[in-house]
């Protein structure tokens, strides 16, 4: 799958951007040239050699604050996506196989969760449990999980009634075998698409919450928080919100690009893409007497 995504230009771009973001998240605080919390003498300074992206209203280095804030933003969005995946996907697959009661209960639960507005709910949870991003993201993840439930269920339903699944059952295969052997490969691509999308959505949510000042205590920098404080000084420094806004935008865009790339290479079209390549390789092998190593493309 990774190899197929990499064979597309869009996939390469998306992965490159996301790798850079990941590096920022991991090493951002170390890379920050200055202390992100240290106030300086030159508030609202323009970009210069000392402050590449200028300073904010307290004279803090914007670049350092951005780098330092990336970890919270990235981790937060990943938390949303993986919580949603964990809560949604497995019941989605099993809802097809585990009988009617389980199916009915999980379907109604999914409907209920969809009905709750997650931003409001996240705010409410923080009000209840105290100001912590982690709790907020867990709750948001749970509220986004019906997406995964539905995607996984739809993909499983399409496979479950197919003759090859029946053939496996006639051979005595258990539900576990059928899921591992036949369902997984068909469900994974749409789930990967949903995951990439959700990471993007997660970014927006984290940024929205931190923009509103929820989830992170004020001095600690986040992308959303930077955007909020920069917007306050728009009249002095009209270009200042550009840097955090662009970062958020590029990251979300890369996630969507990746989702598109995964969708393009999976399913029938993706199979055709790989098959034509393989056929071409086979033909070359036939023309060429030297045996080429067989590629384990699946």
């Amino acid at each position: 799958m990774v190899r197929r995504v990499l064979s597309l230009a869009t996939g390469r771009i998306a992965l490159a951007v996301l790798t850079v973001i990941a590096v920022l998240a991991l090493f951002g605080p170390l890379l920050a040239p200055q202390n992100p919390l240290a106030t300086g003498d030159h508030p609202l300074a323009a970009a210069s050699g000392a402050h590449w992206l200028g300073t904010d209203y307290l004279g803090r280095d914007v670049l350092s604050r951005l780098l330092d804030g990336s970890r919270v933003s990235v981790l937060g969005s990943l938390e949303v996506a993986f919580t949603a995946l964990a809560i949604g996907a497995v019941p989605g697959i099993l809802s097809v196989h585990l009988g009617r009661v389980f199916e009915w209960v999980t379907l109604r639960l999914a409907d209920t969760l969809v009905a709750l507005p997650f931003l409001l709910f996240a705010v409410a949870v923080i009000a209840l449990l105290g100001n912590g991003l982690s709790q907020a993201m867990l709750v948001t993840g749970a509220l986004v999980s019906p997406l995964f439930y539905r995607v996984a269920r739809a993909a499983t339903l399409a496979v479950a009634r197919s003759p090859y699944v029946e053939a496996a059952i006639v051979s005595g295969a258990s539900i576990g075998w059928v899921v591992r052997r036949h369902v997984w490969a068909k469900v994974l691509p749409p789930i990967a698409v949903a995951l990439a999308q959700t990471v993007g959505v997660g970014f927006v949510i984290v940024s929205s919450l931190t923009f509103l000042g929820i989830g992170v205590q004020p001095p600690a920098p986040t992308w959303g928080g930077l955007l909020a404080s920069d917007l306050g000084y728009l009249s002095h420094q009209p270009w200042a919100p550009l840097a955090p806004a662009l970062l958020i935008m590029v990251t979300v865009w890369a996630c969507n690009l990746l989702a598109d790339a995964i969708r393009d290479v999976s399913g029938e079209a993706g199979r055709a893409l790989v098959n034509t390549r393989k056929a071409r390789a086979n033909r070359r092998r036939e023309a060429d007497p030297a045996p080429a190593p067989a590629g384990g493309v699946r």
Partner: protein, 288 residues
């Protein structure tokens, strides 16, 4: 088969026990309120090594018969005995145990969809073996042996189904049904999607199987294919078995008006089929 049939049911001297015995089988579809009968009391037994053809048209219940014999649909009445075991009241677990023994196998109609498009041919073929617990090496060895029986080359093993022709795919599907050395294979329209050359090839393979002592239930709406391969033919009409007999008798001297209608409707090379008047007369007889 490379090894003989299972020791069960082959006590020398005695007549062999049927490998499939269906008695008064009834199957209903639909909701409890509006039940539609799909099979209304069908009785049929298949002796070891025997080839029984089941012919019938759309909606005659022939696929339901196969699915009931395999436990894929629940019978509402009647009994099914597979290889000496009464499976009528079997639950999921017992069915799984029976199926894992590989005594009874199934070949689906649609060669395009009966193989997982994401699995290599080798993985598809090895599945019944791995499910019953064979080691990977053992499975690989058997898969190769059975590939040869359906006249396919080993080069195909690492291909995906999408890279094979329809005829090749159907042969792979037949091979998958054979790897566990079943005593009974049920084939649901195995040649309907194939052109004549591939049809004949599959039928030849089935003949070889029959010569090896595997019992076959061959379900088709194509009278010609059934006539070509079956020892006995059963005719299903609206969920009822209207005629059972030796293939030559059923085709050559059909007794039931429906069988006559079927036989006389099929175009043959040498004789013109029934004209509209004759068919109408047979239909009238049938509805009377």
């Amino acid at each position: 088969m490379s090894t003989g049939p299972a020791p069960k049911a082959t006590t020398p001297g005695e007549p062999a026990k049927p490998v499939l015995e269906v008695k008064d089988l009834q199957v209903h579809y639909g909701t409890p309120r509006r039940r539609r009968p799909a099979l209304r009391g069908v009785s049929l037994s298949v002796a070891p090594g025997e080839t029984v053809g089941i012919i019938g048209e759309t909606g005659s219940g022939k696929s339901t018969f196969a699915r009931a014999a395999l436990g894929l649909v629940r019978a509402s009445a009647g009994s099914v005995v597979v290889d000496g075991e009464d499976v009528s009241a079997y639950g999921a677990r017992q069915w799984r145990a029976l199926r894992r023994r590989g005594v009874i196998q199934y070949v689906f109609q649609d060669p395009l969809r009966s193989l997982d498009p994401d699995l290599t041919i080798e993985a598809s073929l090895a599945e019944p073996l791995l499910v019953r617990g064979d080691s990977r090496e053992e499975a690989a060895r058997r898969v190769r042996a059975f590939l040869a029986r359906v006249h396919l080359s080993e080069d195909l093993l690492d291909r995906l189904p999408g890279e094979l022709s329809g005829g090749q795919r159907q042969r792979v599907a037949v091979a998958r049904a054979l790897v566990t050395e079943p005593r009974l294979v049920i084939l649901d329209e195995p040649v309907s999607a194939l052109d004549s050359a591939n049809r004949v090839q599959i039928l030849r393979i089935l003949e070889e199987l029959r010569d090896d002592g595997v019992a076959l239930v061959f379900i088709s709406h194509d009278l010609g294919s059934v006539a070509g391969i079956a020892d006995r033919i059963a005719v299903l009409y609206q969920g009822e078995l209207v005629e059972v007999g030796a293939a030559g008798d059923v085709i050559g001297r059909p007794r039931h008006p429906y069988t006559r209608l079927l036989v006389r409707s099929a175009p043959t090379l040498h004789s013109a089929p029934a004209d509209r008047a004759e068919r109408a007369a047979l239909r009238a007889l049938l509805n009377a």
